[in-house]
Symmetry: C2
Subunit: 818 residues, 2 copies
């Protein structure tokens, strides 16, 4: 769903349970606000049974003009506006909303409808000045910038603000009409919460459990209020002791049920109690605003961001991420110059169109994921792994073996992240190779072991992984020990160009074609009928191009090993798409040939599926599309659904066996947090959620593409675009630009304009890419595609980008990579 943010969110009142005095306290707060001269508004999103809470609130929050004037200390002053109340969805039966909605027999309000109705109502209230028609004087002072922030009770009554309260039904986890739990239903807005606690016997535990359910969903709780009981039970004190920094407010005991409430509200102690509560909530919001206000400056002093040239990053370009939900970030913008010396905070949604560095699968703020990691933390914490078994690790291992490893893998070695997963894979591949070729664990003296790799590859930032890359800005100047340790093949790449699906053949292969075994004439570009035609190996395997590839691969490997001491010991491949190297879609026929040729020479085959695996490209493993199995494969990023770091290097039993023997022959690699239960639990939960989702095609299957292929093709026809392709949840667009590579600014304009359109995408040199979760709904992708197309069309009309239009300007903040 689209995240429907209210720019300045009003508090939401949740109850620890039904019948804890939620409406009584809500009405009292609005009444106190009205008495201070604030505009008071009340929203009841879902009402089950009558009389409605809105009637109750109207009765008690609408104080008379005389009372308000007297309370404000200004006899003859302006009459305060009446409290505006609204009920958005109203059901007859006084039962849980999910049953009430069902029994009413009409259309059941969805979670999205409820949230959108709340947002609309809040916006209507704000645009109308905060309440029913108030005095004209007040209207003129209307405080549109922070209309929902209650003013501290000490503030001048001439500076009118307003208080809007949204009251949930029942308890924090009571069902909404859809059957979802209310705290989940309302989470996209993430309104700050006033929790009405339970003052009765047993209420301490009920209040604290409700608080934990709110915290698990990432809500900020402004305060807890509860009604004291006749017999003092100490609930407020006990709750306070366990509520951390959250203040707890106790209000006077209610009269018996048959006594009218108005005198209770009028009582001095009650009135003081509500003024204190109102003031306390206001203080918390003011404190939160000033905390946010200082964060950018503090961040600029203390943080060192990865892949970021701080010299080119002004404070204004940094995003304060206050929370996130689904595919969206919630950015807090702070305006400290809003006049009157006030700090104003407003919220803005930004699409996470980089899948938070390619990690996202379960979506931000996923309550099932939050509970899964809490459960693992509560049950285990972290426990040392060698020689031990715990259930989450075992389950992840078996899922990997039976999923992407189905049919070839049997062993899972837990690693830390993509880079070390790859380094461990190289250790595995080399050991198997050395045992097979020489019967040794170490290379014979005067030999140098290298990997076969692709020229545009990128396997990570640790030095071992960095050595499997051709020289570039990513390694030269970054690490004094960098040394390229591979035979790097220039790859034939496929993409849409100007509406045609092309295979671009690198020049060295032309020589191979003309002089070697294939003897076919080769154009620099070949054309395929469609993207999926690239995977039709039934016909392609036996074609002339396959011969060219094969001849080229053989001759290059022979040539390499002809050097003194040079030995090729493993193939390391990013299957299908090279990610950090510039989102390059390699011709799968070439990769297939490469795998076959390496295997024929006894080289273990390693797939680096850190980026491409686990449904990122629409398949569980690239083997589904390549039709070739590896001996070792690496998983990370999506493995935990995008929540916490964990990786796995999966291997065949033959590779595992290469480490048998003496104690020191085993794989002497380990991470303190190997198979940490929190990460394993996140992985199990994510994979379980995925399997239950509507997009899951079953192990070995292929998901629907996130991006419409014809829309991608259309992008490739735009004047500013050089090439485009999409696979799974990845969309890449290479811009026409004078310069290429990491230093290029060719795609900066695109990403900057997307940012202005509420989309956080990233660049790789002159390539802009947009990436969502494999589970992001197709409608959201259509919307994103429309935004992308609009931005690209706009650039075309202005006559070129990057190398031309902005060649002399400094690169923008959004230009950092990867």
């Amino acid at each position: 769903m689209v995240i429907p943010l209210v720019p300045v969110p009003p508090p939401q009142v949740f109850g620890a349970n039904t019948d804890v005095g939620k409406t009584v306290i809500t009405a009292g707060l609005l009444r106190a606000a009205a008495l201070q001269g604030l505009r008071a508004s009340y929203i009841k999103p879902v009402q089950a049974g009558s009389p409605s809470d809105a009637v109750f609130v109207s009765r008690h929050a609408n104080v008379g003009a005389a009372a308000a004037a007297a309370a404000s200390g200004k006899p003859g002053g302006v009459a305060p506006p009446l409290c505006r109340t609204s009920t958005l969805f109203d059901y007859t039966d006084p039962v849980s909303p999910h049953l009430a909605a069902e029994r009413d027999g009409g259309k059941i309000a969805s979670d999205t409808e409820i949230v959108e109705a709340i947002v609309d109502e809040v916006k209507a209230i704000l645009s109308s000045g905060g309440g029913d028609s108030g005095g004209a004087d007040d209207e003129a002072e209307g405080d549109a910038g922070s209309p929902t922030t209650p003013q501290p009770s000490s503030s001048s009554s001439s500076s009118l603000g307003s208080l809007v309260l949204v009251e949930a039904a029942g308890g924090v986890l009571s069902p909404a009409p859809s059957g979802s739990l209310q705290a989940d239903t309302f989470r996209p807005m993430r309104l700050p919460v006033l929790l009405v606690g339970d003052g009765k016997l047993g209420g301490i535990g009920a209040t604290l459990s409700a608080l934990e359910s709110l915290r698990t969903r990432g809500y900020s709780v402004l305060g807890i209020a509860l009604l004291a009981q006749d017999k003092h039970l100490g609930n407020a004190d006990a709750v306070s002791r366990h509520a951390g920094p959250i203040p707890v407010f106790e209000l006077p005991t209610l009269p018996p049920p048959d006594v009218p409430l108005e005198p209770w509200y009028d009582d001095d102690a009650t009135a003081r109690g509500f003024q204190t509560l109102l003031g306390g909530l206001s203080e918390r919001r003011v404190a939160e605003a000033s905390r946010l206000a200082g964060m950018k400056a503090r961040g600029h002093r203390a943080l060192w961001w990865p892949f970021t040239q701080h010299d080119q990053l002004s404070e204004g370009k940094v995003n304060l991420l206050d929370s996130a939900y689904g595919d969206y970030y919630c950015v807090a913008d702070v305006d400290e110059e809003g006049g009157k010396g006030e700090t104003r905070v407003s919220h803005r949604a930004l699409v996470d169109a980089c899948a938070s560095w390619w990690t996202q699968g379960a979506g931000h703020g996923n309550p099932g994921m939050a509970l899964a990691v809490a459960e693992a933390a509560g049950r285990y914490g972290h426990v040392i792994f060698p020689g031990n078994i715990h259930a989450p690790a075992l389950e992840v291992a078996e899922r990997l073996v039976e999923g992407p490893g189905r049919g070839w893998a049997s062993r899972v070695f837990f690693t830390d992240n993509g880079s070390t997963a790859t380094e461990v894979a190289i250790k595995m591949g080399f050991r198997r190779f050395l045992k097979d070729r020489f019967g040794l664990s170490e290379p014979p003296s005067k030999t140098r072991l290298s990997v076969v790799a692709q020229a545009g590859c990128y396997h990570g930032d640790t030095l071992g992984a960095m050595n499997v890359a051709v020289p570039s800005v990513f390694n030269r100047g970054q690490h004094a020990w960098y040394q390229a340790k591979g035979l790097f093949f220039e790859t034939p790449n496929v993409s849409w160009r100007d509406g045609c699906f092309n295979v671009a053949i690198p020049t060295p292969m032309h020589a191979a074609a003309l002089t070697k075994a294939a003897e076919v004439e080769l154009a620099p570009e070949l054309m395929l009928e469609s993207r999926d035609a690239a995977f039709e190996f039934g016909t392609r395997d036996a074609g002339a191009l396959a011969d060219v590839y094969r001849a080229h691969v053989r001759s290059k490997m022979d040539e390499f090993e002809a050097q003194e001491g040079a030995i090729l010991g493993s193939l390391l491949l990013e299957p299908l798409v090279m990610g950090a190297g510039g989102m390059v879609f390699v011709d799968p026929l070439f990769q297939r040939v490469l795998v076959q040729e390496c295997r024929a020479r006894g080289l273990p085959v390693i797939f680096d599926e850190v980026f491409c695996g686990l449904w990122r490209l629409g398949v569980e493993s690239s083997r589904e599309l390549l039709g070739e199995d590896p001996d070792v494969s690496c998983y990370a990023k999506l493995l935990t659904g995008g929540l916490v770091p964990m990786a796995a290097t999966v291997a065949t039993e033959r590779v595992f066996d290469a480490f048998s023997g003496a104690k020191a022959d085993c794989l002497l690699h380990g991470h303190s947090y190997t198979a940490h239960p929190v990460g394993c639990a996140a992985a199990v939960e994510f994979l379980s959620q995925l399997e239950k989702s509507s997009v899951y095609p079953g192990t070995g299957g292929r998901m629907s593409d996130s991006w419409d292929e014809q829309a991608v093709r259309a992008l490739s026809r735009l004047p500013a675009v050089d090439r485009a392709f999409a696979l799974g949840s990845v969309l890449a667009i290479e811009m026409k630009a004078a310069d290429r590579g990491y230093d290029s600014h060719g795609a900066v304009d695109v990403v900057q304009r997307l940012h202005e359109s509420g989309v956080y995408a990233r660049v790789l040199g002159n390539v802009a890419y947009v990436m969502v979760s494999p589970t992001t709904p197709v409608e959201a992708c259509e919307g994103l595609m429309a935004t992308v197309a609009g931005v690209l069309r706009g650039l075309g009309e202005e006559g070129g980008v990057g190398g031309s239009g902005k060649a002399d300007s400094e690169p923008d903040s959004v230009a950092y990579s990867i």
Copy 2:
């Protein structure tokens, strides 16, 4: 506290709230068990107010002989035993136990006392055969192995088991007498839970919030039972929809309060309901047992453990870690051959005396940590970091700068783990050095940059870090690209040997002493008065030994750089203790001199505080003891309190400035999960908890040692021990053994015997080490020390270890390292 495990844990009944029918359901279950011929027992740990729940349970669970016989279908059969009931702590006032205890004015039962009383009572019940004196026939069939597993209702009534139920007071988070929340109080036992849900209006949310509080504390919930309401509210269905695999049982509506309950219990529907519930709980326990039974075999098929030679690891030696709490693992032992075809599971506590690979600080199963990570997951998930700020990351960064970085650091670069933290530190150090020395980012051609390091160092398993190590089994044969890239100093080390605190000077320094500047005569061993005398630099700095160190360091560095193209570019130091290299306590005077000499030559100084930092050695940073500040320092392991992986490389502003300039001059290193909010939230929570703990000495201070220094000294006098030392929470014992290093089996015996004594320690070659959390109570350490001393004395009496006694045998499962 000591983890007081019940070998076969009985179910514990928690309520979603007070007044939900917890005791009614508990009594009904015990009644149903008695009717099946099981021995029924009831424990009420804490009772507030009368009449007590035990009286109620007695009244309704003690069914008459005739009824039981009739129900069991065997007229004239044996009378079932009476239900045994016990109340452990009884208070007068019917209020929350924390208030009731306070008002009674006596000693308030601590959490530990309550848990121990429960464990004692359960053990008493089990040893007495499960209940009050039953028939002799049954006694003979006594099922001691799994006495608390209720039998499925289909099982033969001659195979008697028993049902013990422990009933909590109030709701899941209602306070215990101490004021702790009950779910926390009972957590050390981690009894499987029957949650009594709330069938009333609002009860869906209350039940689900209570369930979440249980899950967050790592409880396994066997089932949820609730009493239906007259007006059907659908609570059971709604709860079931959100309870995942946990079954929900609904019991018939209670009669009005003034109607006696016995007829309700006697009613067919009620009786069937309780039999179904009893059978359902039993099925879940049987399923859990068979799941555990298969795990070892499955683990041996799919897992590839780090630092583990699988060939030497039999299935029986593997630990099934079912949960963990504080300093303890809870190990599940499965006996599939217990007779009658039953699978029997029992639990055993094992001290985590390796701090789960040196990570632990907050303790296992810490509820504050679990909630903190849940909150971060619920609020953010993971969000991309470059150019963005989120509160948890900023807070961690500022705490590091103001804590260990106080006075020298200003920038925090988030890394993944200790190994990459070190690689990034090397990138930083080299860049600063190259800019200073050559004004370049890359080394001039034909030069080779090396680090100054210690010969016994170990900085991680990624290849860059592996290159900063002398050749050993850890790198030779493990990675074909290993190349030592440092000037490695043999270090003078300090330790207790035979009751004296010695400095062992390596031979090369004797040459330095005799021939170079110092001109002092040097014995191979010097003696200090105490461990802390090693840190008395006021006198040591100007002594002859300092001159020797200085002359040696200078001459070695000169000699190294005299090689063509060799340049030293940074100092990389594990301060105070080299961890994986064998727990070696280096003379701090030597490290101080080394830092000073490197700095004098313009070499950036890097502290690898991954192991030693953040209070592992009793100080926040080793700078407190060394009196020297680094330019870059690395933190990991303890940073998140031992919950999830995250690391930080902290640097001065001068180091940061070396990366300013063009876009590609920035630090092009990044991790997808850089500064992941879950890890940051864990770090913030851990550091906050630590600051509130009684052991916290304030930033810059020094904690009390975990290990008594005189006890360590005494260990060093034992015949089997070569040397011993302790600092902070680390205790290391080097055994006298023929062989040393990783292949040695010298310490295997020690660790194996510790394991048999319930202590999970680990070895590094012939060094055994024991490590606790910095917050582990001193009494626990005294107990551990006594166990260690006992084991070491036992070895001494048998005349030698390892190299002698067990030289020919295969190493044990516990011998894997690190």
